[in-house]
Structure formats: structure tokens, C-alpha cells
Symmetry: C2
Subunit: 225 residues, 2 copies
């Protein structure tokens, strides 16, 4: 919470941009749209970024940095592959559910960045994907079950999790903890498993903590530039 | 193959539009872009549609109509829920893999339609989703295993399947039949199941048939309007 006034304002600009990009796509959003929606003048915006592309980069970079940092903290000291997978899924989904616009932008606008900015985000994303793949590999080896292809299962897991922006309402009846629990069980045991021996115990991790990619409050009012 | 010249040209326009929408988003594509890429004059385009929005509607409507028609044909006379699920997954993935641009447009531009056009596509999509949900419900009941939430599992299945446009290369080593087989097994039995009793037999359905949403050939040259 030691954010400077500068950081807070940048966060407000990025959060607003993510919402507009998610609503009407990066390509059809202008800096003027962002200025109007954020209440920051055009001149003010260019004090925080050099271009709309840099805003898109900062949103994506910030998201992957936050989700990976938070994950590494939670995985620290945990060796059991099953528990590590459970933490991975919970971390991804709770982060996702708190940052639906940002995650939609990650999904839809991955190819809207070019050159170094694209390479930079891709590197973070690859690192994250490899971490998931490694957990699945350890889990398969521990259980001596390697018949399911690792690449397919890694992307199937991301598909199950990332698709939630099409249907899941974080304010609805189904909590993020329940969603994580169900998807973990489905992924590990399948739809038809009685699952008695492998049923995943509910996680003790606090799922109610705020996990917005932005540190400030959503309702925070930022003064005009 | 009883396509009129009119139908063939419309198909060419829709296929080209889907490719451009998938590449740079619906919102940032102009009718002029479509004219340039399709080799059909602007006046010619407006002979086939009244607006860019109608093109987007026709792509989405055509996709859902084709995938559902093809599915209903293949499900016809098949009562076993396990076999029905297998057919559903194979049908979805083989259709998807043959129409990656169209399916990306379905995923990304669902909210770009408004009013009646949106309602029309939503109705088709709901029907398709309900069909999947019904198959999963029958399968759970047949196996007396109803502990996995039906809504979560339905969307998890769509997520696993639809996410492939982010990673799967239909021209790569992994065939669509293998992909369908692996995802079906993963969805039914999970990553950690030895699966001996529930292993899904490879489908006998022909997976090599052409399943482009468009009836014409991809290489077909359409003359200038």
C-alpha cells in the first residue's frame, strides 16, 4: 500500500484501459476513449505512457507478473505435486475472477503487441505455462500414469480455466473456491470417476483475499489530471 | 455441391471476412479491407450483404448451423451417452480444426452483434450448449455419478475444446482424431485415472472428411465482381 500518487494514477489508467479494451477490443479503442472514460486528459495520459500499445503491454505484463509472483509465494515450500496443482488452479482462478477484464484482454489481444513488447509478454507467459506443465508432469510421474499427453493436458487445463470469462459470474452463487474445487476434481478424476481415493480436499488457502491485479480499490476516485 | 454462382461468391466473401476478423478483430476491419482481400468490389460486396454486421452475423449463423446439423446427423440413432459424448467432441473438434478463423470469430466477436442478429445467434448457441449438457447429464445418470456440477463440467468441456485455437496446429503431428481421443479420455477419466474400465475406444467415425464450414474449396479463385 506504499503507492505513490503517480503509481495510483497509472493503475487507474491501466484498469480503465483494460475495461474498455475488454468491452470493444484494443484496435477500436482510441486514446481519446481512454481519456474520456478515465477522466485523465490526453496530455495527462501521455505523461504515463508513450502510446496505446504501451498501455496494452503494461496491462499484460502486470497481469502475468502478479499472477506468477503470487503463485510462487504460495508454492514456496510445497513439494507435493497434487497440492501444487491445487494451488496453481486456485491461484489462477481467484486471480482471474478478480480481474476478468484484464484476463479477457490477455486472451484476446495477445497478438496485438509486436516486437519486443510481444516477446516480453510471451516470455512471461511461456514461463507460466512451463510451470503448469512441470506440475502435471510431476503428478503423472508420482502416480505412474503417463498415458495422457502432457501438452494436450496442459492446454486443456488452461482452456477449462480461461473459458470462465464466457460464463462465470464472480458475484453469483458459485464461489471461486467451489469453482476451483470442481475444476480440480474434474481435471484430476474426470466426469465419471467415483474419486473416493483421489478426491481433492478443499483447500485451506484463504480464497476471499483481494486479488485484483491493481493494488488500489476499485471504487477509488482519481482526480483529473 | 449444387452451389449457385451467387452462393459460391457469398461463401468466398464470408470466408475472407472471417479470416480478416480473426486476424485483426471485427471492429478494426472495414468493408474496404474485405473488398481488397476478397477481390470483390465495394459495390459487389453490398450486393451480398447490407453491412459489415450482416457479414459477421452470416459467419456466426452459418457456423452454428453447420456444426449442429452435422452433429444431429451423426447422433441420429445413437443412444449410448458415452458414444454420444464421443461423437459430440469429435464433431466439435474436427469442425473447429477445419474452421479456425470462423471459430475464433465466434469466440471473440459474440458480443459484437446486437439486437435480433445477436438474439438469433444466441438461440443457436444455447441449443448447442443444452445438447452438450444433456449428454453429460445422461452420462452422469447412467453411471450414477452426479457429484460434479453439470454447469461447470459443460463449460469446462467447451473451454478445453475451444481453447485449441490458441495452441493447436491442424497441420502438425497431432491429428484431430488423436486430439479428440485424448480430450475425451481426459474429460471422462481425468489426468490420474488408470482408466482401464472406462477407456474410450478410438472412434470409427471418419475424421478425415472435409468439414470446412464452407462447401467450396479453399483454393477456389473467385472472379472480380
Amino acid at each position: 500500500m506504499n503507492q505513490s500518487r503517480y503509481d495510483k494514477k497509472l493503475e487507474h489508467i491501466l484498469r480503465t484501459s483494460a475495461r474498455i479494451f475488454a468491452e470493444k477490443s484494443y484496435h477500436s479503442t482510441s486514446m481519446r476513449d481512454i481519456s474520456r472514460e478515465s477522466g485523465v486528459s490526453l496530455a495527462g495520459l501521455y505523461h504515463y505512457c508513450t502510446s496505446k500499445e504501451e498501455l496494452l503491454f503494461l496491462i499484460q505484463d502486470n497481469c502475468f507478473r502478479c499472477v506468477v509472483e503470487r503463485l510462487e509465494q504460495r508454492l514456496n515450500g510445497e513439494d507435493d505435486p497434487l497440492r501444487r496443482l491445487q494451488i496453481f488452479i486456485e491461484n489462477h482462478l481467484s486471480f482471474f475472477a478478480s480481474n476478468m477484464s484484464e484476463m479477457k484482454v490477455l486472451s484476446h489481444e495477445a497478438e496485438s503487441l509486436a516486437g519486443d513488447l510481444h516477446a516480453n509478454v510471451s516470455t512471461r507467459k511461456d514461463k507460466y505455462t512451463k510451470l503448469a506443465r512441470k506440475i502435471l508432469k510431476d503428478l503423472q510421474q508420482q502416480n505412474r500414469q503417463t498415458q495422457i499427453d502432457l501438452t494436450v493436458s496442459t492446454y486443456a487445463l488452461f482452456g477449462m480455466m480461461n473459458w470462465i470469462y464466457n460464463w462465470y459470474d464472480p458475484r453469483g452463487k458459485l464461489t471461486v473456491a467451489e469453482l476451483a474445487q470442481t475444476l480440480t476434481q474434474l481435471f484430476l478424476n474426470g466426469l465419471l470417476d467415483s474419486g473416493a481415493s483421489k478426491t481433492v480436499a478443499p483447500s485451506i488457502a484463504a480464497m476471499t483475499e483481494g486479488v485484483s491485479v491493481w493494488r488500489g480499490q476499485h471504487s477509488e476516485v482519481v482526480s483529473q489530471s
